[in-house]
């Protein structure tokens, strides 16, 4: 008997390779994806009991191919009964693939699959679901429970995503060189969203959620192995490692959030920090600068401070200035204002907030109110800070954030 964990890890690693082999042979991405999922489920049932076959990848390819050819034969028979046109595929394509075939360029295959799953015709929610299933090898049930929706809802979303890919005419091939940078951006964004989805969970069934974080990092590592010279790929991996390193310290056992300044830094994961710092240091010196690298660099400055008061805020301000010039957005401006307040005092931070307040994208955003509240509190304006904390608490849809903001407000209120 083999224990389930190594089997699951092995299946997750093989999933994209098997799917790529099938899709390259048969086309029909959607049907191949279903067939591979069934083969993975069969393996997850059988292997822990009967042992892992000698050639696990070949086993999966064979089982998935059989499923698919059964499916195609059934379809063909139906079509013939209806006296329609000839079968979709030449007869030799209906034979199950021999396991050794078509497994040459696994590396490019994973990348091609990622590009396909993050196709611009799909909504972010669909890109995420499809990536987790087709590339990550997670089951529909696992994805559904991670996103707190019923399995039927998630199954529909995945099947709709595959239909959209089909009707967009996308095939299993690398996008042309001219589109590649834009498509890679989409892939990075999807990995980042998966990571955040897992990282920001504070309570509830957090087991499934930290699985998402781990999955995003695993896919990030894969991508980094495939594109080691891409600065943003490295930057994203470093950012995820440096952020995830603080996971244990960021919440209390009751699910309450602990602000960065109050976290017990001895609980940060030193190994992840070392790896993230090494990655970002190495890539900053040679790759073209980008937003993920800058965010990773900022995370590294925080992670390298042994105590909150040792934080090199000047360096953080400089990094936010670079980030603002590279990809200006109001959330970056908010964080920039906080950093400036730490260097030049709350008044300077509040002045900077002025520009964010006029940004339409921030209208009614509770984070603006929360940052204003902090800076007003730093400045000693208790009454205005209290009002801003309360506005922020009303604006958030996050239960832990609301609790945190209400506690801050109550603390000020008690002093009146």
């Amino acid at each position: 008997m083999t224990s389930p964990q190594p089997v699951e890890d092995l299946l997750r690693e093989l999933a994209p390779q098997v799917l790529a082999a099938l899709t390259r042979r048969y086309g029909r991405f959607g049907d191949c994806e279903d067939a591979v999922q069934e083969a993975l489920l069969a393996a997850a049932r059988q292997w822990p009991e009967e042992g892992v076959p000698e050639n696990p990848r070949g086993w999966l390819v064979t089982v998935a191919s059989r499923r698919l050819t059964d499916e195609i034969r059934g379809e063909t028979a139906r079509r013939q009964r209806e006296a329609r046109a000839a079968a979709l595929l030449p007869p030799e394509a209906l034979l199950a693939a021999s396991p050794a075939e078509d497994l040459s360029s696994d590396q490019d295959d994973t990348l091609t699959l990622l590009f396909l799953c993050c196709h611009p015709a799909l909504s972010p929610a669909s890109q995420i679901a499809l990536t987790l299933r087709a590339v990550g090898g997670l089951t529909t049930a696992q994805i559904a429970s991670a996103f707190f929706v019923p399995e039927a809802t998630m199954a529909q979303r995945i099947s709709r995503a595959k239909q959209s890919i089909k009707s967009a005419g996308a095939t299993f091939s690398m996008p042309p060189e001219s589109e590649r940078a834009g498509r890679l951006q989409a892939v990075l964004h999807v990995l980042y969203l998966i990571f955040n989805e897992g990282y920001t969970a504070t309570s509830g069934p957090d087991l499934q959620r930290s699985e998402l974080t781990a999955e995003a990092i695993r896919l990030g590592r894969d991508l980094h192995r495939l594109l080691p010279d891409d600065g943003e790929v490295t930057g994203l991996l470093a950012l995820m490692l440096l952020t995830d390193a603080r996971r244990l310290a960021r919440t209390q056992p009751d699910g309450n959030l602990v602000p960065l300044a109050e976290q017990d830094r001895s609980r940060w994961n030193a190994e992840s920090i070392a790896e993230g710092v090494a990655l970002i240091t190495q890539t900053l010196s040679r790759a073209r600068l980008g937003p993920y690298q800058l965010q990773a660099a900022i995370a590294a400055v925080h992670d390298e401070a042994r105590r909150a008061e040792d934080t090199d805020w000047r360096q953080i301000v400089a990094l936010y200035e670079l980030l603002t010039s590279l990809s200006p957005n109001p959330m970056v401006a908010l964080n920039h204002a906080v950093a400036v307040a730490m260097v030049d005092g709350p008044k300077a931070g509040l002045d900077l907030l002025g520009s964010v307040e006029t940004d339409e994208r921030m209208a009614g955003n509770h984070r603006l109110d929360a940052v204003r509240a902090h800076l007003l509190e730093m400045a000693g304006d208790r009454v205005a800070a209290l009002a801003s904390y309360r506005a922020a608490a009303r604006g958030t849809i996050s239960l832990p954030e609301r609790r945190y903001l209400e506690v801050r407000a109550a603390r000020l209120d008690d002093r009146s």
Binding site: S123, P124, F148, T153, Q156, T200, G204, G255, L260, A370
Partner: protein, 118 residues
């Protein structure tokens, strides 16, 4: 983003509708529910029994005090609840608008257990 769509109506208005009109409106409901379940946005959908079946409960002095009938005395009462998971509030409004012909629809966002430290 997850929302509940709360559908309120006046049972008397509904009862007074001709059968054909009622069928037409129910057809719209069914069409939307089918579309939402096919797109993977529907979490669940429930219709509520007539408000006459309502019990209202209050705990007073440690004992449950139960009265018949709904908590609010308005003519408009909660008639149905959908839970949806969609990309934006605009999408939630788009989904809900077609059923708000005789009914009034209220869209409430569900709280999330996740959050960022500040």
């Amino acid at each position: 983003m997850k929302y509940v769509v709360l559908i309120y109506n006046n049972p008397a208005t509904w009862e007074a509708l001709p059968a054909t009109e009622r069928d037409r409106v129910l057809g719209i409901h069914n069409r939307i529910i089918k579309e939402l379940s096919e797109s993977g946005e529907l979490i669940r959908v429930d219709g509520l029994a007539h408000p006459a079946n309502t019990k209202t409960v209050r705990l007073r002095g440690g004992a449950a005090v139960v009265t018949d009938g709904p908590f609010t005395e308005a003519k408009e009462q909660l008639a149905g609840v959908w839970a949806v998971d969609c990309d934006s509030i605009e999408r939630a409004i788009e989904i809900s608008a077609p059923v708000a012909e005789y009914d009034t629809v209220e869209i409430r966002q569900l709280m999330d257990l996740s959050g960022l430290e500040m």
